[in-house]
Amino acid sequence: MTTTAPETQTVRTYKAHAHPAWRRVLVTREAAVIALLVIVIATAIASVPNFDSPLTVTYLLRDLAPILLIALPMTLIIITEEIDLSVASIVGLTSVMTGILTQAGWPFAIAAITAILVGTVAGFINGFLVTVVGLPSLAVTIGTLALFRGIAVGLLGTTAITEFPEYWTDLAKDNIPGTPIPGIMVPFAVLAIAFALVLHFTPFGRSLYAIGLNKEAAAFSGIDVGRTKFLLFMVSGTVSGFAGVYFTLLYSNARGDNATGMELSVIAAVLLGGVSIFGGRGALHGVIAGVLLIGTLGSALRLAGVTSDIINVITGVLLVLSVVSASFLAWLRSRRISAIGRKKGRSSTAPEPI
């Protein structure tokens, strides 16, 4: 999938290696997000009262866990230049399924697994419509966003199921013994490592970038684009289902309107984490840092007594700035590059960042 001719478009593949290793690791969007996260945490510890308590870590990670979980498959989907807007509705649907089946007397473990399978089926429907029928994922998942939410609310109405076995609700809430870190971080860590290995260290993972950059080229180089995307939507549904079960246990509450609007939190964090909405670019560590950044910032600002509206404004400005400043600087650079390009014919000795 690459050629060596530096003038062609595929020069991008080699550009990453035109710099020394330290620079490839540190001068990236991901590193910038991580640096920003560190700055926010350090500032908050220094200036926000009560931020440095172990409770902060527990509460923050516990509440962010569903977003962290769903961000994993969402990253993969956005890298292939698709999107899944129905994830929060799948959380709601699987939450309701967990509740209904538990209420019907099923053992909780069986109810939870069935609910997760319902998530898989929801993902299957998305995947089928996107890849087999060939509709754009934006349209499909806007439709299923309403569809799954509608089914969830329809099944339970405005009532809520709140009786769950204490063993399981405690399991969802308890910390890893001796640490302030909630237990849900264990399955999350396992999944995160698995997703990272698949995305960054397997041919399958590389094929996602190829699809995102140019799906015709990917198809001609032997990648089954349809099957790959189908699989991703099903994984997305499954992980959303798992998040739905966790969400239900965390709040001891199965309701149709659980997690309403969470898809936007997930997508915002994924984009902030450096994944390109146009596909073909992004890394998981950036996404995880992006989720933590938005969450930590919100937590610190709330502790500092900032109202939720202002927090939304700050988060929104952060996202817009990260996109706008990138585009603006790109425009500036493209002018400079074209000037240099006229003189030298190539741009591999591009100057330092502006």
């Binding site: 969007r29 200036s47 009262p49 659980n258 990260s322 650079r333 741009s347 591999s348």
Partner: protein, 349 residues
């Protein structure tokens, strides 16, 4: 091209980092300053920092109740804070409860969006030493220390019947315009109203209960249908804020204006024009300002250890007088408040 992509993004993110870091430092410092002030201002050993957490912010009802709470807290020299989500979703209050626990406030006054979803968070806050009082909308009894109940079902039913019987001369046909057919609270009230009618008002006949589904247009149409079906109808009770406003809108433009009495549960802002133009004489609701005021005093009594939330405990609530804790840790505000042309100008919610 991609190389530039990389570096420009880095620069962009760095710029954002700086801006954001600055914002955080500023807000953080401001908050730190406030925190210091709080500690100094407390004076006594009891932590009278009380946070109000309504269902959502920007809601005139809660603005009124929280203003009542702030008034009370100023009276006894505590620190008032108000936080809340922008949307009243079941779990959106959890992060604010957690924040209050982290801040180590003395008391938290909550109107629960969901009786169960915030339960664990409230109990964690209580474990951290925060006194939890619910008002307006309760959680399960084991998740809070006290519930300030605005009105009992009996009190509401009785006030509605008293108002309508007064307005129609204790005689004639009446109808009820309710919300939805399966709304638990509505049905409980209607049942109690029927009992009250049977027991004390034998000359009033309840001809029909119709359901407007808390939808403005449906309620409007149902009112029109009621008046056509029962030409002798003398009064309508609508114990739902949407229903009473829609019925008043219909009556005010119809020939029945002034002929057919209308009462129910409504808010002053919705009903103001109909009270002023004579369509409605009086309607009921509780006074949210008093509710917030009482909740603040109850929280203070809990923080100072004056009461523990046991049945029979009693405490002083400033201008409202003395209150006693009932079964299940419930404190009742009192009878519903009647709004009429004389007092409606004093309220804005």
């Amino acid at each position: 091209m991609f190389n530039h992509d990389r570096t420009r993004r880095h620069a962009g993110a760095t710029f954002t980092a700086l801006a954001l870091g600055a914002a955080l430092v500023l807000t953080g410092c401001a908050a730190g300053g406030n925190g210091g002030g709080d500690d100094a201002g407390d004076g006594g050993d009891a932590n009278l920092a009380i946070t109000f957490l309504p269902k959502n912010l920007g809601n005139p009802y809660f603005d009124t109740s929280n203003a009542g709470g702030e008034e009370a807290i100023e009276e006894f020299g505590g620190t008032f804070a108000e936080v809340g989500p922008s949307e009243a979703s079941p779990t959106s209050q959890v992060t604010f409860i957690q924040t209050a626990a982290q801040q180590g406030v003395g008391g938290l006054v909550v109107s629960a969006n969901d009786p169960e979803a915030i339960c664990d968070a409230l109990n964690e806050a209580r474990d951290a030493g925060v006194k939890v009082v619910t008002f307006d909308s309760d959680t399960n009894a084991e998740c809070r220390d006290l519930f300030i109940n605005q009105a009992t079902a009996e009190g509401i039913a009785k006030s509605q019947i008293d108002l309508i019987s007064e307005q129609i001369g204790d005689e004639g046909q009446i109808a009820i315009l309710s919300a939805s057919a399966n709304a638990t609270n509505q049905n409980a009230w209607i049942e109690l109203m029927e009992e009250e009618l049977a027991a004390n008002h034998p000359n009033i006949e309840l001809v029909e209960t119709v359901y407007g589904d808390d939808d403005d247009q449906t309620s409007f149409d149902k009112t029109a249908a009621l008046l056509q079906t029962y030409p002798d109808l003398k009064g309508i009770i609508s114990p739902t804020t949407v229903g009473i406003a829609a019925a008043a809108r219909y009556l005010s433009t119809s020939e029945y204006k002034g002929q057919v009495a209308l009462t129910g549960l409504g808010t002053p802002n919705q009903m103001r024009e109909y009270v002023e133009d004579g369509t409605v004489t009086a309607f009921a609701l509780w006074n949210p300002a008093d509710l917030g005021y009482l909740a603040a005093y109850a929280t203070k009594a809990l923080i100072e250890g004056e009461i523990t939330g046991e049945e029979g405990d009693s405490f002083e609530a400033g201008k409202l007088g003395e209150y006693e804790v009932g079964a299940d840790g419930v404190v009742l505000l009192g009878d519903p408040f009647v709004f009429n042309a004389d007092n409606i100008g004093d309220f804005d919610f």
